[in-house]
């Protein structure tokens, strides 16, 4: 009898472990239903042609670049190459490419494809956004200007060996993981109308695109990661309205949904929905940027005063519903150069008034703030800070403009101040370069920042070969920005993705949470989609 009980116990244990394993073992099959939440349609399915984050959602399924983003280790890793070796001066990289990467038309990828793709991106007659990344390869600028046919810094050693020489000492992974630098098959692009039938190296093969509605893709059996992708089919459904996504998610019609602030509160409060929330601090800093050519903003005390005058924590808590992290300085917490010991500007209206009086504005002043309609970094935020500034005597006049006009205003310096969202990663040096005095306003120095000490720090950081030293210098530079306050530091974006219980393998990608590498995602049998 005892033996029987013991046997039963063992059997149940084994069964239990097996069941648990089954939960953790990726299931092969099923359909992944992702959503594209940023716009009402896709721009283009040609990854070279579009800078839009939403298009890259599809890009991650159909295409591949030389590197990809490793979320677990928070850095780029090789994707289309097996290994890389750097020259002693850190400028030349030799890649041993994969020999098992096949395009969806069956052809194997070789070094020629990489060379052709990067050359296409540098075509000076076209405005391909990836050019900003490929430009660091030696000779790329010549192609852009039309002075050369091919990028001289790219050399084919053999079919699967590629040598790349850069113009400055950077980690190429940060540049070539971008979707806009995807490797495409020349023969498919030259057929014309590539956007209608994209062919790439990604784990899923294009099936159909219904404009304004969705893209459907199927498993590519010859993908080079064995056993992957797990799912048979991938659908990316366009749903730009947060309320609509909310309904569809609750009706189990979609597997993932980006949450807006209102839904974030509701989902966190719901006992079931709260179990499926993925949060990540993305690399965007939202801030109000001052234009120092407008007299009050030339004075550091005024700029700091505004930071003291606004109860930023309350705005984040109440208006943004905690769907953001309080900004301390310019770089986000995911940056290695972020100073964890720094505290953000406290809410201190009295100090603000004093600083204003010291600067010569005891009765405050007026200024115009250009803003867009955006709910996270636009009009609602502006409306919220008006009363705070009013209490210290500053009259804020909002100027509502469309994003396109806002961008032009910022680049031309026609603003007194504007509020916006700025990309602040993953390469911290490149991010801080926006405050380098030699960087023009049209590039990204919208605050016309000019501080010799800051410049010195950045120069030194660029020279430093040792990563630790570089990060230390960048940290000092970042702290200097805090002190100089060229902006009102608002927040770093918290991206929130709601996911159904049957979908696994999602990555908390800080570069952009919707950019999921779908070969790692699998749906278990409880999914209603077949």
């Amino acid at each position: 009898m005892r033996r029987l009980v013991w046997l039963a116990a063992v059997a149940f244990t084994i069964l239990g472990v097996a069941a648990a394993q089954a939960q953790d073992t990726p299931r092969r099959g099923g359909t992944i239903r992702m959503t594209a939440p940023y716009a009402a349609s896709f721009g283009s399915l040609d990854p070279h042609a579009t800078p839009r984050a939403q298009d890259d959602i599809v890009g991650k399924a159909l295409q591949r670049s030389l590197y990809s983003w490793d979320t677990a280790n928070n850095k780029p890793v090789l994707e289309l190459a097996k290994s890389v070796s750097a020259s002693p001066d850190g400028l030349t990289f030799t890649y041993k490419l994969r020999d098992d990467a096949y395009f969806h038309n069956g052809r194997k990828m070789t070094a020629d494809d990489i060379i052709w793709s990067y050359n296409r991106i540098m075509d000076g007659t076209k405005g391909f956004p990836g050019a900003r990344y490929v430009r660091i390869i030696k000779g790329a600028v010549d192609v852009e200007k039309g002075q050369a046919k091919e990028i001289s810094g790219l050399k084919k050693i053999d079919d699967f060996t590629l040598e790349m020489t850069l113009t400055e000492r950077v980690e190429p992974g940060y540049y070539f993981f971008a979707g806009t630098t995807a490797i495409l098959p020349r023969e498919e692009v030259e057929k014309g109308n590539y956007g209608a039938h994209p062919v790439g190296l990604g784990p899923f093969k294009f099936k159909e695109h219904i404009p304004g509605s969705r893209v459907v893709a199927e498993r590519w059996d010859k993908f080079y990661k064995p056993g992957k992708p797990y799912a048979d089919k991938l659908e990316v459904l366009i749903m730009a309205e947060a309320a609509a996504r909310d309904v569809a998610f609750r009706n189990k019609e979609i597997d993932t949904s980006i949450l807006g602030p209102a839904q974030y509160v509701a989902y966190r409060a719901d006992p079931d929905l709260s179990k499926g929330i993925l949060e990540v601090a993305e690399m965007f800093t939202r801030a109000m940027l001052y234009n120092p050519t407008y007299k009050p903003f030339a004075d550091k005390r005024v700029r700091q005063a505004i930071n003291y005058a606004i109860d930023t924590n309350l705005i984040i808590k109440r208006l943004v519903k905690d769907k953001a992290y309080r900004a301390v300085s310019w770089l986000p917490p995911s940056s290695a150069a972020f100073d964890k010991t720094m505290k953000p500007y406290p809410f201190d209206p009295a100090k603000a008034k004093k600083l204003l009086a010291d600067a010569g504005y005891p009765n405050g002043f007026e200024f115009e703030l250009s803003t867009s309609q955006n709910e996270s970094w636009g009009l609602p935020i502006v409306e919220a800070i008006i009363p705070y500034l009013d209490k210290v005597g500053i009259k804020l006049k909002p100027k509502l403009v469309e994003v396109t006009v806002l961008t032009e205003i910022a680049m031309k310096g026609e603003h007194q101040a504007f509020i916006g969202s700025n990309l602040t990663g993953p390469d911290s040096l490149a991010t801080l370069r926006c405050f380098y005095s030699k960087t023009p306003r049209t590039a990204c120095n919208y605050t016309s920042f000019n501080n010799p000490e800051f410049d010195k720090l950045l120069d030194a950081a660029g020279e430093a070969a040792d990563m630790a030293k570089r990060n230390d210098l960048l940290r000092q530079a970042n702290n200097l920005l805090y002190e100089e306050a060229p902006v009102w530091f608002f927040n770093y974006n918290k991206a929130v993705l709601a996911y159904q219980p049957w979908i696994h393998g999602l990555q908390a990608n800080p570069t952009e949470i919707t950019h999921q590498y779908p070969e790692n995602i699998w749906v278990d049998a409880t999914s209603p989609a077949k």
Binding site: A243, A262, V265, A384, I386, D390, E402
Partner: protein, 292 residues
């Protein structure tokens, strides 16, 4: 008169009397609603509970309707009732001023086209047809995009889009009145063209014009809501019913009162204007029974 004829005539008279009663009812109800809206707009500072812009308190964000805040609060913690009260000023201003612009453009073009005829008439008619063919919302959207958001731009944009109706009215009236006795007499007496247009022709079209303008005001208020929804409305942070509606869109599942009250405000005001216009039409423009 035979029995049946007398009966049918009586029946007809009875029907017509009921018409007039209906017309009267529209006039009164419509008039009351519009008067209410105007009253609210004028008395806004007195009857509002808080300042619509500065009265924001983030601690009070998104409270449902209750004792302290009769219509609830919005995401910024502002009292919705007060914002609706102040918002009436914007909506009514948009309605009235845009219709004034409309009428000015339409009447001057229509009067002159009908009066002088010839090439000018052809030009104006062509232009009118053109404006009718272009969807008015799109045209207004384009003008708003050029001028940038704001009350002035809104009024200009809406004023420029719907003048064709008053234009056609003016022109038609002029054409039918041109040959009338008193107009001829005025000409013989040496009155200038402009004087004739102003003193003789204009008063005749005032009635129908007021009807068109009243109905147009309702349309303008609805257009303001649509344009705010599309992203090109009033200059913030002043409250307009349309922008309040548009801001509430994402919160429909979590805070429906944000959309209900501005929507009702728009509805009752426009309803009032429509009823008023209808009622006025029965008085001022009795021939227009079938111009719905």
């Amino acid at each position: 008169m035979s029995q049946s004829t007398r009966a049918s005539v009586t029946a007809d008279v009875a029907v017509r009397r009921r018409f007039r009663l209906k017309g009267g009812l529209s006039l009164w109800i419509g008039g009351a609603l519009v008067a209410l809206a105007i009253g609210v707009a004028i008395a806004a500072p007195l009857i509002a509970l808080t300042d619509p812009v500065m009265g924001a308190n983030l601690m009070n964000a998104e409270i449902p309707p209750g004792l302290e805040f009769p219509f609830g609060t919005d995401a910024q913690g502002r009292d919705i009732y007060s914002r609706i009260v102040y918002g009436s000023r914007i909506s009514l201003t948009v309605g009235v001023v845009s219709q004034i612009v409309n009428s000015l453009i339409g009447v001057s073009l229509g009067l002159s086209a009908g009066y002088w005829g010839g090439l000018w008439d052809d030009l104006v008619s062509g232009l009118t047809n053109l404006m009718l063919a272009i969807p008015s919302l799109i045209f207004a959207l384009a003008i708003m995009a050029i001028l940038g958001p704001g009350l002035l731009s809104l009024v200009i944009a809406l004023g420029l889009t719907n003048w064709s109706y008053s234009c056609r009215l003016a022109r038609a009236q002029v054409l039918s009145l041109k040959s009338q006795g008193y107009v001829q007499a005025a000409r013989i007496l040496g009155y200038g063209d402009l004087r004739i247009m102003f003193t003789q022709l204009l008063p005749n079209i005032l009635g129908p014009l007021i009807v068109i303008a009243t109905l147009g005001m309702g349309g303008a208020i609805l257009a303001e809501a649509a344009l705010s929804f599309l992203g090109l409305g009033i200059r913030p942070p002043f409250p307009s019913w349309g922008s309040m509606l548009s801001e509430a869109r994402d919160q429909i599942t979590t805070a429906p009162w944000l959309s209900v009250f501005p929507g009702l405000a728009i509805f009752f005001t426009v309803l009032g204007l429509n009823l008023l216009g209808d009622g006025l039409r029965d008085i001022l423009d009795p021939q227009a029974t079938h111009r719905a």
